[in-house]
Amino acid sequence: MNKRLVSVFLTGIMATTLLAGCGTTESEVKDNSSGSSRENLTLTLWSIATESDAFSNAYSKAIKEFESANPGVKIKHETFENEAYKTKIKTAVSSNNLPDLFYTWGGGFSKPFVESGKVLPLDKYYTGEYKEQLSQAALTYATYDGKIYGATYTTPVSALFYNKKIFEQNGLKAPATFDELVDVCNKLKEKGITPIGISAKDTWVLAMTHDAMTLKSAGPEKVKAALKKTGQSYDDPDFLSSAKKFKQLADMGAFYKGATGLSNDEASALFYNGTVAMFTTGSWMAGSIQKDAKNPEDFDVVPFPVIGGNAKETDFMGGAVDTIMVNASTKDADIAGKAAFELTRSISKYSYLDGAGLAVWKKDYDDSKVNPLTRKLAGYASGASSFTLWFDTMMEAEDAGEYLTLLQEMYVGNITPEKFVKSMAEQLK
């Protein structure tokens, strides 16, 4: 009886080492049709542009255009929900189950993918019209160790959305500095209106506001240096100042009282229905307002107020993080590499025209039909002096997770801004 157990156990160990050993070094080529290079090639593409997603239409159009321009090549597009996709893609990279083309988030998220050697560098395809129409800056977060690993198609930015109607009714102007913001919040509170909507449960929403405040306090250079660990410590007066101001807003009741119990959907709903007057989040909200608010004309957007001397009004949180990457063992690297750029160029155009996102490729088409909010944001994006990626995407997973945890702790008052700043410095060492 015991012997049986032992032999079962040993078999298990053997099996495990076998599997563990093979799993990470083997590289399998997904074989599909007849195998001859340019005829009848099917490339698989995974993305999160599910049918209910705002980008779905853009993807479909992009795929159609590519297929007609490249007869003999078909693209099989499979979509997955956002959160589940994060698990799926990581598992796929780990077990060599990647499709030819796949969506991913640039910056820290895909760093392990690139390090695994399973992603195709695209430098040799970044030439000619692609290079002309897609700036190097747009590929910042798809570039690792000096090499380009993906193509991007949209560059969301975050900004301060506000309910114009409520502001006008109360004689208020959109704030451009922190003091003006505090003033607006106080005046709104006097009238019994909750100033700022936010979700503390979906910590990324919390981060939207804090990231913006930190950027506008410390300036883009300092932020990047601190988060990318290139010599700037987080234990710094500018970072402390933004943390303190964040706490100040929380303590004065500027944020919706029940934010810790609300998801992003619920918190946003409060903004659309006029319960809260302001909301800081990504440019995609411009699209949602058209759909979910009773009177979209009541809403407007401005850049997040400037707080410190190192930052300008035209510094924006955001950047091109939606990326399409290519599997290093794809059936046809040349076609797949080209596809990455062709697809992203089309998606950039169509998603912008749909009001779903801000184009990152050069615009050589008429955009007058796009909704005014999105167009305004597109203007900000093209006139931006800098882009800083949201902290939790820029940083590596471990640091990002710690950041969000610490932020929530600070929000609910478990730790002081001083402790927050020191802990961040500790983590980023």
């Binding site: 009886m1 049986r4 157990l5 599997l19 563990a20 093979c22 799993g23 698989t44 995974w46 999160i48 542009a49 599910t50 049918e51 209910s52 997603d53 705002a54 980008f55 499979e78 979509t79 997955f80 929900e81 956002n82 589940a84 698990t87 799926k88 598992t91 780990s94 077990s95 060599n96 189950n97 499709p99 992003n264 959907d265 619920e266 946003s268 709903a269 409060l270 659309y272 229905n273 319960t275 990504g282 995609w284 909200m285 949602s288 759909k291 979910d292 009773k294």
Partner: protein, 290 residues
């Protein structure tokens, strides 16, 4: 619990006691029934609402505006009918496999005599301990080695693996209440193990099997993590993944999700009604009479 206590009062006329007792009983049952049925009502009503109504305007009431379009969105999104069918196939085979394997295994563990059955019995309980998220990568690696990903088996096999523990334990407990004498009596004129299993044990295990079928159904029908990770090709996609795909990356229209959920829940309810009848019917223990 308090309800039986009420019947305990001695020495008084039994009649009025029972009346008060049973009124209270029915009230309690009624309230609990309402509480339990509320989610169904809520799901049904929000499947017709817009986000605005769901998130504040009209949370509980009947829809102010009946958005039948939600159902249209849900059904035409992707290929819901196909996903539904896939779920039926996967869940159906999982139930079948679970029932067969667990009953056979439980019989071997409970009735047959062999060395090590106590140990195996304990090991089976490990099946209750594994947190699913930790198993995703290992099982995926195994499935890839066996070249089984992107297929119905990719889900049926893992699902069955995870329901086995629960199923074997339930079978065991029901088996234990079937007296061994019954089998021995049937054996007087000579018999085989298989004969006993099929002709004596199996019929008596109907309530257990029905219960296992329901529980297995629940685990498999709504399962999400494995279904998303192990299947890439949407032609094998299951319903729960299809429903999840109705969520947008940043914002979600909940009405169509409600519609899809209503569609997904109905077979559950029907199957349950059907199964519970079986449990009730086959619960007469007449056959066990000595």
């Amino acid at each position: 619990m308090e309800k039986p206590e009420k019947d305990k009062k001695p020495g008084k006329l039994k009649m009025p006691q029972i009346k008060v007792g049973s009124i209270v009983t029915y009230v309690v049952l009624g309230i609990w029934a309402l509480i339990n049925i509320f989610p169904l009502y809520w799901m049904f009503t929000f499947s017709f609402k817009s986000n605005r109504e769901i998130f504040g305007l009209n949370v509980i009431g009947l829809p102010k505006e009946w958005l039948w379009s939600n159902y249209k969105s849900a059904l035409t999104n992707g290929n819901m009918a196909l996903y539904f069918l896939n779920s039926v196939i996967v869940t159906g085979f999982t139930i079948l496999l679970t029932v067969i394997l667990s009953l056979m295994a439980a019989y071997a563990l409970n009735r047959l005599v062999w060395k090590g059955r106590k140990v195996v019995n304990n090991i089976i309980m490990l099946g209750l301990t594994v947190p699913i998220h930790a198993a995703i990568l290992p099982i995926f690696v195994i499935l890839r080695k066996l070249d089984m990903t992107n297929s119905y088996q990719a889900l049926i096999i893992p699902y069955t693996g995870f329901t086995l523990a629960m199923a074997v334990m339930i079978c065991n407990s029901f088996l234990e209440s079937i007296p061994k004498e019954l089998e021995e009596a049937a054996c007087i004129d000579g018999c085989s193990v298989y004969g006993i299993f099929f002709r004596i044990i199996l019929p008596l295990m109907k309530p257990a099997l029905a219960t296992i079928a329901i529980f297995t159904f629940l685990q498999a029908w709504n399962e999400l993590m494995f279904a998303v990770t192990f299947i890439d090709d949407s032609k094998f996609r299951t319903l729960s993944v299809g429903i999840q795909n109705l969520a947008g990356a940043h914002t979600t229209q909940w009405g169509p999700i409600g519609a899809a959920l209503v569609i997904a829940t109905f077979p559950t309810l029907i199957l349950y009604m059907f199964m519970s009848k079986r449990i009730q019917q086959s619960l007469t223990v007449g056959a066990v009479k000595g």
